[in-house]
């Protein structure tokens, strides 16, 4: 039976203020003495009730085979556990969604996307395969002709206002459309309108920054990390079309989304896996997603997480605050800053060299997965550091790189 996303109210958080019942234009919300509930036979996902709710209790969702009736919901002290679904069931759900949207699900990314991904992965030095324990990715469920329509539910700047780079954390909600996306995958965003020559804009890919169960657990939403691009030439400023479009989105705006895309840059699912993540700037997005997945699902996994993360200054490092809060035993964080006044410039590769022994100990381990994501410019420095680290410890990076790549343990995406 097809899965459906059901709108519920969290009885532990709700204070029975009646606002949702008052707001609902079609009387889908009702209550008894204990609980306020949403009638699945009436609710049409118009979302009018979401923002007036003072508690956030209204913003609760479950994927279900059969909807919970209101009588059942009246009895709840808390929301039921989220059920685990098999790949087949989720596939069916996304297949339904794709069919509903009139799209086709195929085994490969569309050409325009494939080109982008090819370029991004050039630094890998060969064709990558996904980690054997990775979950099965769905790709191309939504296409340019039949995109998903997401609604912006959050958009705010995460770099400090004085910082030079303006990076936004954007949360998109897919409503009742199934959008199965894994950590490391990208989604496509098509800015509305046409370019100067009257052609539709190119699709832009953004790696999701949230884990597969949503930016908020059990929410059908994804987070993106988007930097506002402005190039300057001849004293003029040229704002990037897509990034400025996204950074300027207002809450409630609708956005056309394609994808998901990418079937190799995925995280291993087994708890023994060590994950080494190397990134700069918004290249951190997939690693935020992977880290959060591990934190939610297996915070005590024996596998190690090691992060090398570079930015110009701490103020420009996206998610700097939240990162600092992760306990050391969960993740080994190494930050490099290249433009802190009165301090020597430091890049991710410098930090990697400082941790040479630990990196070298992990690399040959067949449970170790290495990911690099960020600007093209970081590639050479990181490669040199890996070569140096290997030779210091009697390893050959060139050989190791291809072994790792062929076993799904080495992945690069740089732009």
């Amino acid at each position: 039976m097809a899965l459906k996303r059901q709108h519920l109210i969290d009885p532990e958080v709700c204070i029975r203020c009646n606002t949702c019942e008052e707001t609902c234009p079609i009387d889908a919300v009702t209550h008894n003495e204990d609980n306020y509930v949403v009638d699945p036979d009436i609710c049409n996902y118009c979302m009018d009730c979401i923002s007036p709710c003072p508690t956030g209790a209204i913003d609760s969702w479950r994927m279900v085979k059969a909807a919970y009736g209101i009588e059942e919901q009246f009895e709840w002290d808390e929301l039921p556990e989220e059920a685990e679904y098999t790949d087949e069931e989720l596939a069916e759900a996304s297949g339904d969604a794709a069919n509903d949207a009139g799209g086709v699900r195929s085994g490969s990314d569309p050409d325009e996307v494939d080109e982008i991904l090819q370029r991004a992965r050039a630094g890998q030095g060969g064709k990558a395969v996904p980690p054997p324990s990775a979950a099965h990715p769905y790709i191309n469920v939504y296409t340019r002709d039949a995109p998903a329509v997401a609604r912006v539910v959050g958009n705010y700047r995460i770099t400090e206002s004085q910082a030079g780079s303006d990076i936004h954390h954007v949360v998109l909600d897919f409503g009742s459309q199934a959008f199965p996306v894994l950590e490391g995958q990208s989604i496509g965003i098509i800015p509305p309108g046409e370019d100067a020559r009257g052609r539709p804009h190119h699709v832009r890919l953004y790696s999701v920054a949230s884990p597969r169960d949503g930016e908020r657990p059990n929410h059908n939403n994804v987070a993106l990390t988007v930097k506002r691009e402005i190039t300057e030439a001849d004293g003029q400023r040229f704002p990037g079309v897509a990034s400025n479009y996204i950074c300027d989105l207002q809450k409630g705006d609708e956005v056309k989304v394609t994808g998901p895309f990418g079937n190799t840059f995925l995280m291993p699912n087994h708890p023994e896996a060590n994950i080494i993540m190397v990134c700069t700037g918004t290249g951190s997005a997939p690693f935020r997603a992977m880290t959060e997945r591990r934190r939610r699902r297996m915070a005590d996994a024996p596998g190690k997480l090691m992060l090398f993360f570079g930015a110009r200054t701490p103020q420009e490092l996206p998610y700097f605050g939240p990162l600092r809060k992760l306990p050391e035993r969960f993740i080994d964080i190494n930050l490099a800053f290249s433009r802190v006044p009165e301090q020597p410039r430091e890049y991710v590769q410098d930090r990697m060299r400082l941790r040479s022994t630990d990196v070298a100990a992990l690399l040959p381990d067949e449970n170790t997965y290495l990911y690099i994501c960020g600007l093209k410019g970081m590639e050479d420095g990181v490669k040199e550091a890996l070569e140096a680290i290997c030779s210091e410890h009697g390893l050959d990076w060139t050989v190791l790189a291809s072994t790792m790549r062929e076993s799904g343990r080495f992945h690069v995406e740089t732009y």
Partner: protein, 479 residues
């Protein structure tokens, strides 16, 4: 003088720019309001950036706009819920007549009185809470406090708008007086007793928002029934904000309870009355929480006035103030011959006595209020039950610790046993916060200003607001 564009400054749906007279009146009132806010509003933090919700319109999408704003720059708007086409007076002598868009001449005085009493409570609570920012248990809680404060400020605006727009010179004078009275001031106190009590710490604040703001909710609910349409629409919109205040109280106390039972379980303490050991862990023991409930419930119950009231009966008959959920009650909505059971002390015993319903309106509203409180307390008890601790928080007997109404001259225990004066004096510390309790609770009040961190006596919220992560920096203090 600085030019302010009031049409822009005051988001509104009352066509402010189209009413020059009203606009001028509000322009005159505004500087005094800002003075009041700066001197009697939150102590400190006026330059901090606070992540606040601002209403910019009354549709579901428009009234929850989140963003960083300095409190003095908050856009205190004037909003009326959308007009209901063909609305009629729902009760009293004028039942069925079209609702009034202007004040009926003969009801001017009582209506103005109702509005200014409601208006007086709004700034009062801001004054009562002005020192709390300095001891906030987290940035999230600090933000919630300031949200409540700016919205109470907006509620004052809402009442002042009505006074200015519909009551001429008397209204303007009344609006001015609202800025002159001060909570707890000996010479010019706020009108109602509970609004002259200090809110000394965060446990009191949560109790206040749960019990005392809830009185506000019930007053607004009954004014939302009013035949005077602008008052009804104003109150209906205020209720959406009031819901947030209830939330701060209900979830605040719930998180205190959660932290206490968690700490008890971590330490292996099963006896909730093992107060010393529980306090050693820096959390608030359940019996003390019960005492604060007793206090705040009884003080708030006084706000409903005397159970039997001819003023209330008159306001009902005139169509000015209705009953809670009037439209859902199945009767004649005029209360000609109906009766209502009122709990009374008869020959030293509590007994339900049937009284004319029209005279018992205050009692009825208070009974509805008590039911609403009980539903929240039930949630707190779920937390205790889930933790496996044997303890039940209870709303005290309605005769306990009352200063108003028919129980004001008897003493009763929270269970409802009558006591003489001597016994009350001797035992009241068992039921009301003692000075030792106050000292202990005060000792816990230390500011926690690191994003995502919470004082040791309160649990983190299950979800933060506006889908923000728990470690979001809800208040940028030093900006």
């Amino acid at each position: 003088m600085q030019q302010i564009n009031y049409d822009e400054l005051i988001p509104n749906n009352v066509n402010l720019s189209g009413d020059r007279r009203l606009q001028r009146a509000l322009e005159k009132w505004h500087p005094g309001y800002i003075d009041w806010w700066m001197s009697m509003g939150p102590d400190g933090f006026q330059a901090s950036q606070v992540y606040l919700r601002t209403a910019v319109s009354v549709d579901p999408k428009g009234w929850a706009n989140f963003g960083f704003v300095k409190m003095p720059d908050y856009r205190w708007g004037i909003f009326l819920a959308p007009a209901e086409e063909g609305r009629t007076v729902g009760f009293g002598r004028h039942k069925g007549e079209p609702a009034w868009q202007e004040v009926p001449g003969e009801y001017r005085a009582p209506l103005r009185r109702l509005i200014s009493i409601q208006g007086d409570t709004e700034p009062a609570s801001v004054e009562q809470q002005r020192h709390l920012g300095k001891t906030a248990p987290s940035l999230y809680d600090m933000r919630n406090l300031f949200q409540v404060n700016v919205e109470e400020g907006r509620h004052l605006w809402a009442m002042v708008y009505l006074l200015h727009a519909y009551f001429g010179r008397d209204g303007r004078e009344e609006a001015e007086a609202l800025l002159q009275r001060r909570s707890g001031d000996e010479d010019k106190p706020r009108v109602l007793g509970a609004f002259n009590e200090d809110t000394p710490h965060w446990l009191a604040f949560f109790m206040f928002t749960f019990f005392t703001d809830r009185d506000g909710k019930f007053q607004l609910e009954s004014l939302a029934q009013s035949g005077f349409d602008p008052l009804s629409r104003t109150c209906r919109f205020m209720l959406t904000e009031e819901a947030h205040h209830m939330f701060v109280g209900e979830s605040g106390v719930m998180r205190v309870v959660q932290r206490t039972v968690d700490a008890m379980n971590e330490a292996g303490i099963t006896d909730p009355h093992d107060v010393n050991r529980i306090r050693e862990m820096g959390v608030i023991d359940l019996p003390t929480i019960q005492k604060y409930m007793n206090f705040h419930f009884s003080v708030s119950a006084d706000l409903f006035g005397s159970e039997m009231s001819t003023n209330a009966a008159n306001a009902y008959t005139m169509g000015l103030k209705g009953r809670y959920k009037e439209e859902k009650i199945d009767d004649d909505h005029q209360l000609h011959d109906s009766v209502y059971p009122v709990l009374k002390l008869v020959d030293g015993e509590f007994r339900w006595v049937e009284e004319p319903a029209l005279n018992a309106l205050n009692a009825r509203l208070r009974d509805d209020y008590v039911k609403d409180c009980a539903a929240g307390v039930k949630r707190w008890n779920k937390v205790i039950e889930k933790a496996g601790i044997e303890f039940t928080l209870e709303i005290p007997h309605i005769a306990f610790n009352r200063q108003m109404g028919q129980f004001s001259d008897v003493h009763a225990t929270p269970k409802g046993d009558i006591l003489d004066d001597a016994a009350w004096e001797q035992r009241k510390d068992e039921w009301l916060p003692s000075s030792d309790d106050e000292t202990y609770v005060h000792s816990l009040m230390k500011a926690v200003t690191e994003p995502g961190e919470y004082a040791g006596w309160i649990a983190a919220p299950k979800v933060a607001i506006d889908s923000k992560p728990g470690d979001f920096e809800f208040v940028r203090i030093a900006s």
